[in-house]
Symmetry: C2
Subunit: 227 residues, 2 copies
């Protein structure tokens, strides 16, 4: 299927001359990132990754022990920017909910591999990233979101008759689900949730959500709407 085989760097057996700038380690991680995050751990074979990286499957064993070791190393690199962002965001006091929706949807839409990783390795019961995702991301991000909702309630901006945790769950649902089903929703909905359509989704989500959880019946459609 994927005939994207990179030509092999070294044609003969034995340690290659160092003149050719050949970082097999990095090439394997890059290929793994491409393939694992697109098709999931199971569907990608060690030979496919090795071929895409221009080397042999024995190099996976040499540098990472086995296929799982390569997956973990790749994932650690891929996820690091977000865990760092998460630790940094712990200090910031309080974002307004529209900004959170905007940032959340845009981040997921801009990195399509996030949805693929969720679908392949988090949602299935035997997902290879499920436990780590819950431990390092969900259980840190979700309480922050609940905290924002609770603060909004304390300040009188949000309804107090709703469970803050359920409100947070609804926010995540409205943000994540449309992008998870994006590829199958396109033919049914009639649009692709890209570009201006994504802006429209964000404005819609803010409006629908805020006028549901806002205490005042102000009915302010949020700012970012574009005609």
């Amino acid at each position: 299927m994927s005939g994207a085989r990179a030509k092999r760097w070294h044609s003969r057996v034995g340690r290659p001359p160092s003149q050719a700038a050949n970082d097999v380690h990095a090439a394997l991680i890059a290929a793994a990132r491409h393939l694992f995050l697109k098709h999931g751990y199971q569907k990608v074979t060690a030979r496919q990754i090795a071929t895409a990286a221009g080397t042999t499957p024995a190099m996976i064993h040499y540098y990472f022990g086995n296929k799982m070791g390569l997956f973990r190393a790749m994932l650690h690199e891929a996820v690091q920017p977000f865990t760092r962002l998460l630790s940094a965001a712990k200090a910031t006091p309080s974002m307004d909910i529209s900004s959170i929706i905007d940032a959340h949807i845009r981040t997921i839409a801009a990195n399509p591999w996030i949805v693929s990783l969720l679908v392949h390795e988090v949602l299935p019961e035997g997902g290879k990233f499920r436990a780590a995702f819950v431990r390092e991301i969900a259980s840190r991000l979700f309480p922050m979101l609940v905290g924002v909702v609770e603060q909004g309630r304390r300040e009188g901006r949000l309804r107090t008759d709703l469970d803050a945790r359920l409100v947070a769950l609804s926010i995540v649902s409205l943000n994540v689900f449309p992008l998870v089903v994006r590829s199958i929703a396109a033919p049914v909905l009639g649009f692709k949730l890209e570009g201006a359509e994504l802006d429209r989704l964000i404005a819609h989500t803010s409006s629908l959500l805020l006028n549901g959880i806002t205490a005042e019946p102000t009915k302010t459609t949020h700012s970012r709407a574009r005609t």
Copy 2:
């Protein structure tokens, strides 16, 4: 892992005496239903199904041609009740949105295999039920939901400044996503979305959604709330 092997009906080679009520065909479909809908097509082997059905993998080839044939036959049976319900519901004029939310969430929660099927065979790009799901379910159910929203707008009960298709997408998101992430949300949220908690989720979803899309600022928290 799964040591649920049924004892073989026939111990000797050759056609068995008809006295023993042995419906291998039905047993295979039942075992396939159990295993495929729980773990997904790929993770379940033909030998596992045959063993669970108390027979041999050659019987899959004999009755269904191959593993895929068994999967399709099983799925046709499993989904039939819903496609029939769908055809019947086409005649009914208009449900109110709270009833739709209630029915939708309860149906998914009462049939856990629906979520598993979505996660394993619809959401992934190569899912074995993806095309059929879009064709026979999504593209029939979703327009009905859009129609309900549009009728509510015409009757003045719902806001007119929101895109009806996006409202429908939000409704589906709020209904489906919490149950899709149920097993990973449990430790993060602190509850399991079962029993009374499910009732609370339904009431919450109705309240949050309606006060977002209702034109009047009446703020009627919907009925079904239980303390």
